[in-house]
């Protein structure tokens, strides 16, 4: 495929119109043929902007998503659980790194994206604005939040943009593992003492609806959906994925011995799906606007980490400048 650089040259030569449409046609054909678009390929500006927005938001969600779980690392009730939780939070930082790298292939930079996160110009998943109030919340996040994320992300492994699709293959493998661990954590609580069972039920009660909101607004209100589906960034509609998730969760909840907090939840023979109650979209929009329980706290903590770490990054840069080697970064894979 032709490159973006070639495209810019074409503009400079004043032959823009025909060439752009030729590039557009080649792009459309590649997408239709399920070929991967790669960083050096020409792509429509709007496609690039949509991907930057989506991948950055995804990366930010991994980074902010470390906080509600890290909240319990120092209180994990057994050494085994502590190790699992630490490994999970570490994986999330790693997922953030993959995703920032994927975003960088589109011509943006990690520093720029982090700055947009810190100043509220880019968003992260609204789910991470809910607090983790008990140990069982760690399990509920694994089972429901990671479960919803996987339902959303598995189709992204076939996304038309190559670097994003490849990042998702790696991420989904690890997420599936986290999800099973969360389920197993809840199962232990559910089968434990009466207090533990109650703790598990309370966590599921609080996380169920926010998890359903992770799929985004209903199809008729989803601004970007149609275009993203045409570009094969998105493969299924919000409501389709939400329905799939509900259908998966119902039997899992049964085998956990826990109930889902929705009196309207019932199997619909005719549709071959579960019917479920209405989502509180007012709450969803409220959290999205920054008025959720933890929005301020999450961003404040992220900015604190960044601001307090500035002298460390400056030191690494100064050292690298003096000695001509790589600055920050893990010294080991």
């Amino acid at each position: 495929m032709a490159t973006a650089a070639a495209h810019r040259t074409a503009h400079a030569d004043g032959a823009a119109q025909e060439d752009t449409s030729a590039f557009q046609a080649a792009f459309d054909a590649a997408v239709a043929a399920e070929e991967r678009i790669e960083p050096r390929d020409w792509m429509p500006d709007a496609y690039r902007a949509t991907l930057v927005r989506q991948i950055a938001q995804h990366a930010h969600s991994e980074i902010i998503g470390m906080q509600p779980e890290a909240n319990w690392i120092t209180r994990a009730p057994s050494l085994r659980r502590k190790a699992i939780l630490m490994a999970k939070v570490q994986d999330e930082a790693g997922h953030g790194l993959y995703l920032y790298s994927a975003a960088e292939t589109l011509g943006t930079g990690r520093d720029e994206l982090l700055d947009k996160l810190h100043t509220g110009r880019q968003k992260y998943s609204s789910i991470f604005n809910y607090p983790t109030l008990t140990w069982a919340d760690v399990g509920a996040i694994g089972w429901l939040v990671d479960g919803a994320a996987i339902t959303n992300q598995v189709p992204l492994c076939r996304c038309s943009y190559g670097p994003y699709a490849r990042a998702m293959v790696r991420i989904c493998k690890e997420e599936s593992f986290h999800q099973r661990q969360g389920y197993e954590l809840l199962l232990s609580l559910s089968r434990g003492t009466a207090e533990q069972h109650a703790m598990a039920q309370d966590a599921v009660d609080r996380w169920w609806w926010p998890s359903l909101m992770m799929f985004g607004p209903p199809d008729d209100e989803s601004a970007h959906s149609a275009q993203s589906m045409a570009w094969k960034i998105k493969r299924h509609s919000n409501d389709e994925l939400r329905q799939r998730f509900v259908d998966i969760c119902v039997p899992q909840a049964e085998s956990l011995g826990l109930t889902l907090p929705d009196p309207a939840l019932v199997w619909n023979e005719e549709r071959g799906h579960h019917d479920f109650g209405p989502i509180d979209w007012t709450e969803f929009h409220d959290v999205l606007k920054g008025n959720g329980p933890c929005n301020d706290q999450r961003i404040a903590r992220r900015r604190q980490a960044h601001d307090e770490g500035a002298w460390v990054r400056e030191a690494a840069a100064a050292h690298a400048a003096k000695h001509g080697n790589a600055g920050t970064g893990a010294t080991h894979a």
Binding site: P77, A305, G309, R313, A316, A318, T331
Partner: protein, 239 residues
Amino acid sequence: MTATVHTSAALALGDDALVLSHRLGEWAGLAPVLEEEVALANIALDLLGQARVLLSMVGNEDELAYLREERAFRNLQLVEQPNGDFAHTIARQLYFSTYQRLLYGRLAEVQGEFAGLAAKAVKEVAYHQDHAEQWTLRLGDGTDLSHERMSRACESLWRFTGEMFLPLEGVDVDWTGMKDAWLESVSDVLHRATLEVPQGPQSGAWTAGAGRQGLHTESFGRMLAEMQHLHRSHPGATW
């Protein structure tokens, strides 16, 4: 070698790893750069793994971690020191990982109850030591501010380093040789980082062997309160 000796050494080494792992876990979400989120968690996980093996040599790992009180812990006072700024965390890592690398290197070479653990752990702590060394170089020989902070951190933790070389019963290594090798290795890194080797005493009336005897610094009780709270709130429960 009696069972008592075995137990006290495993407990001491296990508590070191457990407590330092916990402190590193406190960094999650607060590291100065994302790569350090990964690196610090990675080191914390390695240490937690070592702690679990060592404590399991003594008894039930969770009972030992969650149901002992402050006075029964045998870790070095060095590892319980609060994280402080990133320089403090790195200085603590440099001092302790150099010690662990030397100790496990020796234990891996001799036939004994710790040989198996040491053979695996020595690879991990070589990475920890490298990580601490690289950051000591960056901070010491970075900006004026980072030099100042790294220097202060190395100074303030120095008085906790003598305790590392008090012989542990049941650990058959040349402790004097260990101390010399440690001093040589740490001095070399500090010099390359344009930092002075601290001149103060490596131990004092209170710090000398205190952690190994169950005498800890004030912040340690609070750390344990947080660590143990949930487990202690549900006696007999499994997780």
